[in-house]
Amino acid sequence: MTPEPLSRRDFLVRTGSAAALIGAIDGLARALPAEAAAAKVGEAAPAFTSTSTSGAAVSLAEHRGKLVILEWTNHDCPYVRKHYDTGNMQALQRETTGAGVVWLTIISSAPGEQGHVKPAQADELTASRKAAPTAVLLDPKGEVGKMYGATNTPHMYLVDKAGVLVYAGAIDDRPTSRRGDVQGANNYVRAALQSVAAGQPVKTPVTRAYGCTVKYS
């Protein structure tokens, strides 16, 4: 009855990895109507151009011909920390970028919201956490995030060499914030990459992303 990512919810969350800044007022948050141009697995990934921490414009189109991974993040979210504190995310970044895959980390937190960072702060986080993305994109207006329907951090996407979105969802099948669950989890992104490399369709192309909500304005 429950889909695969939901089926192993037997876990114990570690206490109080307290978050930092207080989100302002969620009463301001409005449910936006579903966008017509929203990303859909199996179709062309929506084109976007965003700004990296170095100030350079980065577009999806310029990476056509390469596999592209999109990672939505918020460094203070307990679920993101599960994957960075254990080195899980960085290992996947190294493994994939080493194989010629483009990895774009995207921060859609609005100014004043949890996870919002200035370019220098973002670079510092990359350095201190020994992360290895191709680039970190700042999307404080949430334009790219909403275009892709990113709801969670982490929320992962894979775009194939033809520019088709072939995976959207969770990083793995353990929807918890417990660090111990990284071990033995089935990493959906890695599995999708393997399918693509073997020239096969991705077995689970859509999963329920788990984590904190993306802190849009």
Binding site: P3, L6, L12, A24, I25, D26, P78, T213, Y216
Partner: protein, 702 residues
Amino acid sequence: MAWRSLPLLALLALGALAGTARAAAPATQGAGPQVRVDLISETAAVEPGGAFWVGIRQRIAPGWHTYWINPGDSGEAMTVAWDLPSGVTAGPLVWPHPERIPVGPAVSYGYSNEVVVLTRITAPAGLSPGDRLALRGRASWLVCAKICIPEEADYALTLAVAARSAPDPRSAPAIAAARRAVPVPSPWPGRYATTPHSVTLTVAAPELRAERVGDVWFFPARWGVIDHAAPQDATVDGSGITLRLTRGAIVEAAEGPIDGVLVIRERLDGGMVSQAFAIQAVSSGAPAHAGAPVISLLEAVGLALLGGLVLNLMPCVLPVLSIKALALVAHADAGPAAARRHGLAYAAGVLASFGALAGGLLILRAGGAQIGWGFQLQSPLVVTLLAYLFFALALALSGVWLVGGRLTGLGHGLAARPGLTGTFFTGALAAVAATPCTAPFMGVAVGYAVTQPAAAALLVFEALGLGLALPFLVLSLVPAWRRRLPRPGAWMEWLKQALAFPLYATAAWLVWVLSHQAGPEALAAALGGLVLIAFAAWLSGRTRDARPRWRRAGSAAAATAVAAALALGPLALSAPTSAPPAAAATTGPAAARWSPSRVTELRAQGKPVFVNFTAAWCITCLVNERVALHSPVVADAFARKGVTYLKADWTSRSAEIATALGTFGRNGVPLYVVYPAGETGAPTVLPQILSEGTILEAIEGL
């Protein structure tokens, strides 16, 4: 802290409040958990071997929320790990229905303020009064406002063990409230149809009234079935509820049955109340029990043909068919041309009958009714008439009487032209006789037919008819087959009489169906009708060889008896038996019909009275009956206190009931009133939202 800063703080707080409906909270950020968890129990004392509800109560800081089992776009449901003494078992977590929590462009499903997640605990039988039962465990959950924090905490509760369980007055109301918020099984079937972008959910609840339904929301049990953030467009009309939903990200999630919770807000006299129903919607193309087989028209026609063939073997059809076959045997010498004519006439009768049936079905379906094969059996009147018919046919086979002088062509007139009309009607009769029966393969074909355009549906039904007609048709058309039939002889009479019994059985079954549909009065009427039918058959049989004058008198008397039997059926049905079929299966106290004089009378006899003012279209009434009023505990309390349970059914408006409601300042249902015995004591009005506890309290207070 300096007192001076207080006004400033107040100003800040005001500003925050002005900015949002649910601001407040995050000032306590970092000051401790956002959710306080404790374990509560409906009982303070447990009896050995007893089962009882406990709840893990989350008290959530204002502005924060926790999650349902399907958390929606983000989030995570609570998990618990019990640490129980040996022999104690805890059931699965039972979740109250969630609310929608919009967060930016996303929507989560969860809870705010307070939620009690229930578990049924069973105590070991080996306990003895005076023991203590220590329940403990650890809960882990995610709590979010704009930001999210995983939290966890231990909970524990020690209960006394006593010979008889005793409620906990402090916690029982919270547990009762939580149990009310747990979805009850939907009394209405759900179906859905999909397009690449939408899922349309239909709930067949024709008794609901649009003006009472405030708002409807569907929470799927699975992530990916629908887009959680998209608006849900609900309409309530004469056929029930239709919800237009946007399809979710997982395409195959909307291929099997869709499970979820339907929350309906109902307008009552005093305001709005939410009621939650657990529903499993099946794909519109599928029969209600199977998954969703996708078949083509050709396959459906094939299956229908096969199903029709198998129908011949069903107890309701086999005797009818056999009679025709016996006629062929008896008149093997009548010549192939006559046999062929009869075969075609029989087939024509079957096809005409099926055509009429399909036509009726299509017309009703066009009117929005959710119907399938056997829809005609939903009418108690049709069921009664079919029972008469089968009984009369069975009596004929038993030899009590003869149909029209020659039992549907069994006599000597096979070759005669007028016999053809008889044969045609035998075919029609075979089709009618087939309606209570279903055969394998039929369900899928008919399930397909009812979702197709009229022409395709008609084709499937006629294929079913052709299948039914085929054995006799082939027998009459192919002389080689006819030659293989056994020689006529005395065995034919034996077989004929034996075949009466499947028909008696069918009649008995139909009467049983009727008793469920229409209650004891209709049952009594139908049984009386059967006696009259038997009398008519006997009279007709006895007088057929008498002198003409007696024969005429016999026929007239028999016709009168049949007319009386026919009149009895509708008479019983027009008698106001109210109990809806859904309520028949519950285990609650038996209800009698309400009238003001009945209340006065009972009280004068020294009996307290509980009156349930209800209606089939009242959602809250339905839930109250399911979760509280019809529980065995309440039935037990009624019996113990000698309370008479009266039901005032306002499904059809009645001035008498409206007046009674008015005396309590109400103009709608539900209304629950407890009258103490005697003529003077003031009646107690119970809340519109019932729990077992509320009822028990009122009853114990008598």
